[in-house]
């Protein structure tokens, strides 16, 4: 059987297993739905006044925040995708599967697909909540699609990076510490909560190299209906970043399989 055929056959059942898992862990399910709504309301209220500064071109701060929060939620939930890898490693499930002819690409690909699904659903929840709070995307459907694509691409990228990292560190505590250490700065070194014009010069400059900022810029420009010219570069960078993350995850998986 060809590699591609094996991949296609195995992806489905493995993906369903991930989906089943997230539906069955009640706390996870509730958190994944409540957290984005909570953030939208909290941040929207907290920074509401900031939105009246001339640097903000959106109708309200909430409208400015919506694409950013979709990206923030995406980063947050997919950055922990590796925890699932470690859980399976500890339970011996990984080795059990590796003793079968299962497609190795499907084995980690299913996790990336799952990450992307979760963050898109969360982005939809955020968009829905924002809509209920009166936010109307000037970009219309294209705007919604851009926000979803930004969340999915960043989610897939972080999901891949996290999976790769998990296969290297293989320890829950290390993984948690590293993820917390890496994700927060990435979120705050971006125009997620505040426009670039209001950031200190050095931060704005660093943000230009930050994938979170690419996703925010792309999602927000689409949300505003600014068109391809406004976000083409960021979209391309983001896609390249996601591809790189998955190539690295694949490398790290191959290394993991040769560990003994």
């Amino acid at each position: 059987m060809s590699r591609l055929l094996r991949f296609a056959r195995d992806l489905g059942p493995l993906y369903l297993r991930e989906v089943r898992y997230s539906l069955r862990i009640r706390a996870y399910l509730v958190m994944s739905i409540v957290q984005p709504i909570l953030w939208l309301i909290l941040f929207g209220q907290l920074f509401g006044a900031v939105g009246r500064l001339p640097e903000f071109e959106d109708a309200t701060y909430l409208a400015f925040l919506t694409p950013g929060l979709a990206v923030m939620t995406a980063s947050w939930s997919s950055a922990y995708a590796g925890m699932g890898v470690i859980r399976d490693l500890d339970r011996g499930i990984f080795d059990r599967l590796l003793a079968t002819p299962v497609s190795r690409t499907a084995l980690i690909g299913a996790r990336g697909l799952h990450s992307a699904t979760v963050v898109m659903l969360q982005a939809l929840i955020i968009l829905g909540t924002a809509f209920a709070l009166g936010v109307r995307p000037p970009g219309g459907l294209e705007g919604v699609a851009a926000v979803l694509a930004a969340a999915a691409l960043l989610g897939a990228a972080f999901g891949g990076a996290s999976t790769g990292l998990a296969l290297v560190v293989r320890k829950e505590e290390t993984m948690l510490a590293l993820t917390n250490f890496l994700v927060l700065p990435l979120l705050f070194l971006s125009s997620l909560l505040i426009t670039r014009e209001l950031m200190p010069e050095w931060m704005a400059r660093m943000a230009a190299f930050n994938p979170v900022d690419w996703a925010v810029t792309f999602g927000r420009a689409g949300f505003r209906g600014q068109g391809w010219s406004a976000y083409g570069t960021e979209l391309l960078l983001l896609a390249l970043f996601a591809a790189t993350c998955w190539i690295l995850a694949g490398r790290s998986f191959a290394r993991f399989r040769r560990r003994e």
């Binding site: 080795d95 059990r96 003793a99 079968t100 002819p101 003994e260």
Partner: protein, 331 residues
């Protein structure tokens, strides 16, 4: 044909531990082969290499006719692997676990439904099949592990300590299922164990592994009868004088060797001829003022085979391995 062929297989881990120091054996198609050894002997290491999860440092092995290093996929298509600890997915139901394993082992969908039902029934899991595995008992999980290992009808099944940690009742029922499986399916089984009784009961041939080397191999009966003589176990009225009694016995012609077990306070003697040695033995002890409380005569066990080959008991070997009970449980 041999379902498993191992030639001079050696494995040194990155941390310098020489887990296997060149082992060779073969298991004929349709047979049950027991790899017996104390903690840290290298059993799991051998199984993981044969299941393509680990690479040998030197030597070679073929499983179902395929090289475990160069033809990994072919090997994977032909084997079932049941690891030392349970590897079921606790968040899924028993049936879901079984179905996923079957799908990934490329059992066709129609065949799989039927196969799953049949396996669940024969392992007594029908009633629990649609409950989540996290509520299963240890024995139920182990049976599910076994069912998952054979869901695709493998040609060679690897079982790493299938009954360790189970209570006697669960252990017997796993043994029953294993016996039935090997009878009904055309299956070669390689099982590891540190229960002498298990190796004796289930396997047609055994190899005894000790510190990465095979120290004895053959059929359990053959191995036992290779040991000349019988075993005599003596219990003294005064347990504190067991050592002294050992010295007395070692001085007798009919006694090959005698060892004391400080934990149980028993004295184990290896004698050339049980029936004739026992009266001598008792008389000699009484002459030295040692009162015998009980004497038992037994045929050699695999434990004695091990003792003869290595000069130490299983427990001593496991302690000497230094890493105790949980060595390599899921390294």
């Amino acid at each position: 044909m041999n379902a498993v062929e191992v030639r001079d297989l050696a494995k040194t881990y990155r941390n310098g531990v020489e887990a296997l120091r060149g082992i060779s054996f073969e298991a004929g198609s349709g047979s049950v082969f027991g790899l017996l050894g104390p903690n840290g002997a290298g059993k799991t290491t051998a199984v993981r290499i044969l299941c393509t999860l680990s690479s040998p440092t030197s030597g070679s092995a073929r499983v179902a006719g395929h090289d475990v290093v160069r033809e990994r996929r072919r090997v994977q298509e032909n084997i079932g692997y049941v690891a030392q600890g349970s590897t079921v997915d606790p968040e899924a139901t028993g049936r879901e676990n079984l179905m996923l394993q079957g799908r990934l082992q490329r059992v066709s969908r129609d065949a799989l439904d039927e196969r799953a039902d049949r396996l669940l029934a024969s392992f007594g899991l029908t009633e629990a099949a649609d409950r989540r595995v996290q509520g299963y008992s240890g024995g139920m999980k182990r049976k599910l592990d076994l069912a998952m290992g054979v869901v695709h009808g493998p040609r060679v099944l690897f079982l790493d300590e299938p009954t360790t940690g189970l209570d006697p009742e669960a252990r017997r029922s796993v043994w029953r299922e294993l016996t039935r499986l090997t009878r009904e399916e055309e299956l070669t089984v390689l099982l590891t164990t540190h229960y002498m009784e298990e190796a004796d009961l289930l396997s047609g041939r055994v190899a005894i592994l000790d510190a990465g080397r095979i120290v004895a191999r053959g059929s359990p009966d053959g191995l036992k009868s290779d040991i000349r003589g019988d075993r005599v176990t003596v219990e003294l009225e005064d347990e504190d004088r067991t050592e002294e009694a050992g010295t007395v016995l070692r001085g007798l012609d009919s006694v090959v060797d005698a060892a004391t077990d400080p934990e149980s306070g028993l004295l184990h003697a290896h004698v050339t001829h049980g029936a004739r040695a026992v009266p001598d033995l008792v008389a000699a002890l009484e002459r030295s003022g040692l009162t015998v409380a009980e004497v038992a005569l037994s045929r050699p066990t695999l434990e004695d085979v091990y003792l003869e080959a290595t000069g130490q008991t299983f427990e001593e070997a496991a302690e000497a391995a230094g890493d105790g009970e949980d060595a390599g449980v899921r390294a």
